[in-house]
């Protein structure tokens, strides 16, 4: 597993140097977000805040720097974290904050999370890295049976709220079964933890800082495809974005699109293309999956009358199903078309067939048109 991870990470490091053809296909998928979304981010941060252009892994690195600087009881650890991490998110942290606060762990995910729970339970901030979300399953018991129930089972005598588990998730173009998964839905079925997924560098920084400082355990999935490819102006200072608060990235009147993480870039392209055909799409970034901001989605669907949810994870039992059911419960009479789900197929994540598997722009565009013309 380690050698594969290493190999993949070297591929990842070469992402910017990949073939022209691949580069084009990637940039098509992850073009910078529309000025509208950026304006919103700016306004929430204030226009006079100094900003710096950076990619997503640098934004994560900056958030970790700030978290470590502002709280001496915070620790960052995981496999290969000491030298900077296979995705470079922990670059220079050990040099800056010392090897007792930033350190490698053995290859044992259940050990990493169990250790992190114990550290957090002693009133520390434990920021644990799982190298790929695909490898989080050995830690599933620690997350589901331990972290999530730590407060509840003790009658609020104990908690491990200082725990944040970071893990890169999602497609990357060449990751196959074990470097591409989006396991968020498993964790959305677990009361007691929060699940957060950012879509861009400035979101990643603000949401990660909020997750680290939130008094509840958080699973924070980072879109690894965007680590290098997504670049935007990121406010330099210390800021947090609210958890359990969705963001309307793009306002529209005909249909509501809901997504999270890397998929939003694809969805935004579909919104732009639909706009050219006279369809006005509202795009919502859920940002926190549990507890999720149902009110914002309900309000939007009550306005547009249509809903499309899109995620990379397999469609059956995906979090899109939960959103769909909740909206049908609350907006049944307002809906003018069935809720559309454009998601991964119910197969393992396939290497060669990745372009077929993915919920691509045109699949979304077709679903938008079908809903509007229903």
């Amino acid at each position: 597993m380690r050698s594969i991870s290493r190999a993949l990470s070297s591929l990842q490091r070469c992402a910017r140097d990949c073939s022209r053809e691949q580069q084009e296909s990637l940039s098509c998928v992850v073009r910078p977000f529309s000025s509208h979304a950026m304006t919103e981010t700016k306004s929430s941060q204030g226009d006079d805040v100094p900003k710096k252009s950076m990619n997503l892994f640098s934004a994560v690195n900056q958030a970790l720097n700030i978290a470590l600087e502002t709280d001496p009881r915070s620790y960052v650890f995981g496999e290969d974290v000491g030298f900077g991490g296979v995705f470079r998110c922990t670059t220079n942290l050990a040099e800056t904050f010392g090897k007792h606060r930033i350190f490698n762990t053995p290859l044992c995910e259940q050990g990493i999370v169990g250790f992190a729970i114990g550290l957090a339970a002693m009133d520390n901030r434990a920021i644990a890295e799982i190298q790929f979300a695909d490898y989080i399953y050995p830690a599933f018991d620690q997350i589901v049976n331990e972290a999530a129930k730590f407060r509840y089972r003790s009658g609020n005598q104990f908690n491990c709220g200082g725990l944040t588990i970071r893990a890169p998730y999602g497609a990357v173009g060449h990751g196959g079964h074990y470097h591409s998964q989006s396991p968020e839905a498993f964790f959305c079925h677990v009361p007691g933890i929060k699940v957060v997924i950012p879509r861009s560098p400035s979101q990643a920084k603000g949401l990660l800082l909020a997750s680290i400082r939130d008094p509840n355990p958080v699973v924070f999935f980072e879109p690894k495809w965007l680590y290098r490819l997504s670049v935007e102006e990121v406010p330099e200072g210390d800021y947090m974005l609210p958890l359990s608060k969705a963001e309307v990235m793009r306002e529209g009147t005909d249909i509501t699109l809901v997504g999270w993480g890397a998929q939003l870039a694809v969805m935004e392209q579909a919104c732009i293309d639909a706009g050219k055909e006279g369809i006005s799409c509202e795009l919502i970034d859920l940002r926190t999956l549990i507890p999720w901001d149902r009110e914002t989605v309900v309000e939007s669907v009550n306005k547009t009358g249509r809903l499309l949810v899109s995620h990379e994870a397999p469609v059956t039992g995906g979090f899109g199903a939960e959103i769909s059911a909740s909206i049908v419960e609350r907006c049944f009479l307002r809906l003018e078309a069935p809720v559309a789900r454009v998601c991964g197929y119910d197969t393992p994540f396939p290497l060669v067939f990745e372009p077929f598997y993915m919920p691509t722009k045109n699949k979304i565009l077709d679903a938008i048109k079908a809903a509007v013309n229903y």
């Binding site: 050990g111 999370v113 169990g114 250790f115 049976n145 005598q157 104990f158 509840n216």
Partner: protein, 485 residues
């Protein structure tokens, strides 16, 4: 002799002080029929100050007859020469292991020829072994340990019966393991943080958790610190540094390591202590915890209660190693095997383990051999898989409470009258606590939706109000002893 030879060589070598290299012990036959123990003595790591960094044994030093001339030559820059017999002892410095060559095709035996001995101080009759160095224990401490073992035994007997009468939904006893519960607790400091399984309520009792608090938890009443959310015996107390128990096996072990790391970073005069059973040693969390503890050099004491049974699974279906104690070395962890029925031996071992853990910032593994005299739980009937004679043997011949009583009686610290008195007092206290707890109402319904998160999120508020509407429509569906208003 050999030791001074090594030191002389250190002095003359070109190695800088502090550099580490390897010497071989040629007199010891690494793969002899004596097995693992001798093999593991076959190599030693030395640093330039001439101190062994892995073994301190004088026996080892005596076995040293030769240090490593070829390696020394190479390190000091001398040209290599043709193959000699010395090649076997040449230094190999692969990143995964620094060791020497051997020309013998021999595998390490799966187990040492002799099992690891079990440390004890008192024999089955409570008499000190002739060469035993007893810990310092005055009459007051000894009586306190004994009376807590009696209280624990009494609580177990009465609570078990209460479950049988349907007053509790479930119960688990510590019969046979009273000494592990109380004597280890006595050897710890109240600041030490505890990560236990479910057969160690005696530690809480030692720290002052009242009989009523135990009963409150088992009834799941309004005064249960866990707010009625968990099955009986899942105790926890922040005040007493005792993390709330969860049912999954071994999950507490890596958590104890994380907590110990926090204590180390805080320079606390305390360690984390993790308790678990023989079955737990098969879980991945056990192995992860041991490895993390060794690598991160955390002050944690692992105490395994090897009581022979994981529900119905005997230890020979659980592992083929010489118990748990030998697993310590596999992770580079100091370890010891102790008689879990000998309160004095346990007290000594845990005191020393705690000292090493904190002063040297290292993990220590203790395997306490014991026997689960009771059923696994009230949901188990162990007569289905073990015979009564076996249980009786351990109950009658090896009872840890009786053994300790004989020792304090021999000191004149205990007699028949004190025994009668404490037994009847304990019984009355347990019954009174249980009756009091049994009369209390259940926790308020609001506890259902609280504490999932630090504050109640909107979707849980909504579910709360939905439930209240259902209760209003169908009050007959719900228990009357849970207040809902």
């Amino acid at each position: 002799m050999a030791s001074s030879a090594v030191r002389a060589l250190m002095k003359n070598s070109t190695l800088k002080r502090g550099a580490t290299f390897i010497t071989s012990i040629t007199e010891a036959r690494p793969y002899s029929q004596h097995g693992v123990r001798e093999f593991s003595c076959g190599y030693a790591l030395w640093n330039a100050s001439g101190r062994s960094s892995t073994f301190e044994s004088e026996d080892l030093l005596r076995n040293l007859s030769k240090v490593v001339p070829p390696a020394t030559r190479r390190l000091s820059g001398e040209p290599e020469k043709a193959f000699t017999d010395d090649e076997d002892s040449e230094v190999l410095d692969y990143p995964g292991a620094k060791t020497t060559f051997t020309h013998e095709l021999k595998f390490i035996p799966e187990n040492a020829a002799e099992p690891v001995p079990c440390y004890r101080l008192l024999n089955d009759f409570g008499q000190p072994l002739p060469w035993a160095q007893l810990p310092q224990m005055d009459a007051e401490l000894a009586r306190k340990i004994y009376s807590h073992m009696v209280s624990l035994q009494t609580m177990d007997l009465i609570f078990y019966e209460a479950q049988r009468q349907g007053r509790f939904s479930f119960y688990m006893t510590t019969h046979g393991e009273e000494a592990i519960n109380i004597a280890t607790a006595a050897a710890l400091s109240p600041e030490d943080v505890l990560f236990t399984q479910y057969r160690e309520p005696g530690i809480l009792m030692w720290r002052g958790f009242s009989l009523e608090s135990f009963a409150n938890q088992c009834f799941g009443n309004r005064d249960d610190l866990g707010k009625g959310r968990q099955m009986p015996v899942h105790y926890g107390s922040r005040e007493l540094n005792y993390f709330t128990i969860s049912s999954p096996i071994a999950t507490q072990l890596p958590q104890a390591v994380g907590a110990a790391y926090g204590l180390k970073m805080d320079n606390a005069d305390a360690c984390a202590v993790a308790y678990f059973g023989d079955g737990a040693s098969s879980e991945g969390d056990f192995h992860g915890a041991m490895n993390f503890a060794a690598i991160l050099e955390t002050p944690v004491v692992f105490i395994c209660r090897n009581n022979g049974w994981a529900i119905s699974t005997p230890t020979n279906d659980q592992f083929r190693s010489d118990g748990i104690v030998v697993k310590g070395r596999g992770y580079g962890i100091r370890s010891i095997r102790v008689d879990g029925m000998d309160a004095l031996a346990l007290y000594s071992v845990v005191k020393e383990a705690r000292r090493m853990a904190i002063e040297e910032s290292r993990p220590v593994l203790i395997e306490a051999l014991t026997y689960r005299v009771g059923h696994h739980s009230t949901s188990d009937d162990s007569s289905k898989y073990r015979n009564k004679a076996e249980i009786d043997h351990w109950k009658l011949v090896r009872d840890p409470v009786l053994r300790f009583r004989k020792w304090i009686e021999a000191h004149g610290w205990w007699d028949v009258d004190s025994e009668k008195k404490i037994r009847s007092e304990a019984r009355a206290a347990v019954i009174a606590a249980m009756n009091k707890a049994g009369r209390k109402e259940k926790p308020h319904l609001s506890a259902l939706f609280e504490d999932v998160y630090d504050s109640v999120p909107s979707h849980l508020k909504e579910q709360d109000s939905q439930l209240r509407e259902v209760i209003a429509r169908h009050p007959e569906d719900y228990p009357t002893d849970v207040p809902t208003q």
